[in-house]
Symmetry: D2
Subunit: 337 residues, 4 copies
């Protein structure tokens, strides 16, 4: 089979590799759609993300969907032909954190496209059957792939306890900010303001159901009079993170979604007098069943985020389009083409 491989910084090569053999409990999936994530772009450009260093060839891509074509011993939940969305981080299932339902914190997690685990920019991948989630026809291949970033937004809403009638501020209108917007609406939030400096993305936010947008290039967050129950900080900009805490009401919750290696300055007195809560977020757990229901029922529309399709040979173009085109949100690689 063909796979597109990061062989050196800013170098993707198409390689022929053997098709994966399923181990016990695993299925082999013919990959139909793979979204390009900011972390793929970071590995491509910099060869690393913080402590995670690419020092051997690596297949990128972890937002993936496809069709089951084979399975290993003990697989009892799948038939050949099932359309599935991949949950790309497989834990050990039996450590204390897994048993508690916090499998995203499993110390033995094997996560796609994170050195040294290969990802999904290839024609086939193998994965544990429990992490290949069947999707109904109402969910397109692209949407099935994008259940992964959606899961981040859903998990952020869960951590921030967004709910019916909540007022939510979303800092940053990149792909994660945009899925978080839809997630917040699906959780019942009735006021969702999205803040960014990119007017094009704010327009997408407005078209996706934001009840308000804020161009923080024009109006600093602190002057916008926002009074939110929940902040989903998706920008990863340190100053924006600190500013967002001042937009919270007493008892409000901030969820730190956007990543970075810096420190965030927390204003202690503000945090105390208003009893704010700040939560870090690491991927997601148990979000696929909910995500599938929300997309299949039409509550959430992921296809609208897709801004381009690329064949496997065009993986590098898909990884770089965002640098050239500010209107690009979510490029999709289709490994079978």
């Amino acid at each position: 089979m063909r796979a597109s491989v990061l062989t050196a910084t800013r170098t993707i090569e198409i390689e022929e590799r053997p098709e994966p053999e399923p181990r016990p409990g695993e299925v082999v999936v013919r990959v139909s759609s793979v979204g390009v994530c900011g972390s793929d772009i970071h590995y491509y450009r910099d060869g690393r993300i913080g402590p995670f260093v690419v020092d051997a060839p690596l297949v990128l891509g972890h937002e993936a969907a496809g069709e089951v074509v084979a399975f290993g011993d003990g697989v009892d939940r799948h038939a050949v032909g099932d359309r599935v969305s991949l949950e790309p981080g497989v834990p050990d299932f039996t450590c204390r954190l897994c048993l508690e339902g916090k499998y995203n914190l499993c110390p033995n997690m094997r996560f796609f496209a994170t050195p040294p685990i290969d990802g999904a920019f290839s024609e086939y991948v193998a994965i544990h059957q429990a992490f290949a989630h069947p999707v109904p026809d109402a969910v397109s291949d692209d949407a099935a792939a994008l259940l992964e970033p959606l899961s981040v937004g859903l998990w952020a809403c869960r951590k921030g306890a967004a709910g019916p009638g909540s007022r939510v501020l979303i800092n940053g209108a990149g792909p994660i900010g945009l899925v978080s917007l839809q997630a917040a609406l699906a959780f019942g939030a009735t006021e969702v303001v999205v803040a960014d400096v990119n007017k094009q993305r704010l327009d997408v936010a407005a078209a996706s159901g934001a009840t308000g947008t804020l161009n923080v290039g024009d109006t600093p967050l602190e002057d916008a009079g926002i009074d939110a129950d929940v902040v989903l900080e998706c920008s990863g900009v340190p100053e924006a993170t600190t500013a967002a805490l001042y937009a919270l009401r007493p008892g409000g919750r901030a969820v730190l979604v956007g990543s970075g290696s810096h420190d965030v300055a927390l204003p202690l007195m503000r945090l105390q007098v208003h009893e704010l809560q700040v939560s870090g977020l690491f991927r997601y757990a148990n979000t696929w069943p909910m995500a599938i229901e929300l997309v299949a029922s039409g509550r959430i529309d992921l296809d609208r985020l897709v801004t381009g399709h690329y064949g496997l040979e065009q993986t590098e173009e898909a990884l770089t389009v965002g640098m050239r085109d500010p209107a690009s949100i979510k490029p999709i690689v289709s490994p079978q083409t």
Copy 2:
């Protein structure tokens, strides 16, 4: 002012009464819309509901909205002319349960239209300012009145921990079942099945967003293959309540909304093997802010439940229309007409 008074079982008389004087902290509200509730009908027909006996003239009506026309000492949150929705049960504010936020359980609660407290079928009522909730123009007078039954539905969803992607069974398609349906959808439920024996009401449920309806006159609940996360039992029928427990998935929650003086038979082994949770529900607490947001934003449409308007002199007709017309859902009394 005029008030319509239950002077004896099945007897409503229009009386002239003095306008209420606001006590400290109270506002006086000119009542615009009052929904007719099943409990009003029970008092009218039977003169009692369980231990609550009407032994003196009583003004019925506790689903009410209107306009602030006067206020007592210390009122600082209202101006004359504010449109408000009334939360009809005023607690003592300072007992342990109130301080814990469970004011619906306050032992000193004074609830409209519950002997000996008069209700809102009158031109004016007085109420504590904190329980006269301002509503925006996007909420009609009728909808403002119906925030009260909606609150029951929202509270039921809260108790049952309905959420995004939940599968909900609603037993009973009366007014409370129908607002619970909309509440469940607003909480993010993606599958909401409504069960009843009344085809007309099931049609209303289907038109209000139910993803499925079940005529339990044709197909018993136990044969319908329902597998719900949450059951909102709004029928009050003992057998239906027991049957509903068999429609719950492992870890499911049943909320007993429909009232009655009977016992419910809980199948112990089922409850244990599936770790089911059964909760009683008494009115609501802290639901108005959420209810107002949900209606103002268009997530919930209460006006669609209104099936007739009646002047104050027609109160008795409003109380009895439901017995004559099975298509009647929510009659509204407009005390100013």
Copy 3:
């Protein structure tokens, strides 16, 4: 190795069997102590518990501790010689309920001493390494075995949200009632009343830290003026269960621990007006780490519950001593003797 086998109703035979071979991920444990549980006694006497029927020879015993003597492929958390407490129900680890941390509800659970799975009244057993929990020296072999019933009590306290300052009523002073008593105290409950008809057991409760005891043969529960936050119903007696609901304060929680195949009559109006919550309980999940800490730190004393030791050949005596001696609480079988 020797195993004591239930070959027919009220018939235990000692058999020679091959030592278990560990499958991948499993350890083999030389069993040191096994507590006798009420369910063992039921299978012995009646050959069934509700739908679970013994139709082939079955080894009973599921409260077990021992020492690791061998392990299969992939075992990485144990060394030969580790003292371990066995969590006797091994789930499939990968179903939706397992992933959510509710592995006690796993539909593929394999539970010791439940047909057709053999239990621990034998010299050796094999079990998944994740369910052989290492215990420190401060935990005796007997106490290590009794972490299993303790887990039921801890899980009941968790379900009932017992906490610091809680007032708890425990219905039934059998072994589960007595561990629930200690569990409630460990959760911080400051008032724990134990009710039973057996004076000897009430004396044990009083000696184990109960702040009050109630002989319901003398004073019916409804006359005792109890006003509890939490009821842990461990008697399984239908009338006692209904009565216990009247002992709850507004907002109180009842947990149905004691089992049976009957219905429980729930007084609907009481449940509603006081917003009571009733929860079924099925075994436990994620309790061993907490249980080990509580016993090792001396907060909970399980050795005090042991009322007799029996060799493997005396298994039948251990299973029947409770019928002869009302002072018997927890007989222990020591399979190595």
Copy 4:
């Protein structure tokens, strides 16, 4: 009556003032014991705490107990002679936050000894009846006063979700650290390590039930190998706060109890990869009932924290003893002497 009044920075004068008249709903309390808090000392030394500036004479003292001697209209829960512990911050009871049970965040809170509200270093004070909590004889006058700082510790444990078997790190062994230690033990924590640079205070911590102490002057927190479920940060030292986050396990919770006007540097990647939660804390809500139970039952011993008694004329000495004597923990002013 006599009151000790802060008339200027570092100046306390004894004044004769009229006895307070109870307003409706209030009781008058003859004050028996008042603990000296760090905030009293700050106001005394600096005339301000952050934005709270003393610009008129102020009576300090907010950890108080006494006896009811009179009451105003509408008081129905007290009799003259009742021994009571004062909860010194009275909210407006009817705002949205109060109704939700979060009365500590009430914007109209009137808190003792916070400008311009007088505190309790006086012979008599008036307070709303709901905030004068009756205490049983098992709770001494001093302990009744110290339910206030204990409440901070209990609230911190609640925010941090400490529970049975938790491992807790307490940063700072001042009075709040020491009550938090006892609170954590009462919540069921089985490992509670207290860190400080003051050996004397660490000795008190060890004698009060700490399972470990850490002199961070000798061993930096980051080298101590601590792996906690919960950190209660009571030192208010910025560097110590940041360091404490590295002592948390995946899924751990930090509660910021110690105050200051600075920023806290949060290491974003750590917070995310381990999904840590950081909560600010502002006083407490609904803690007195629990606090009374825990002290009355002997679970928590507050008298051991008392290191000196002072008459009203010695208030200034009580406020300054801590600067002279590092062994001083909690001086008590007895206004009747």
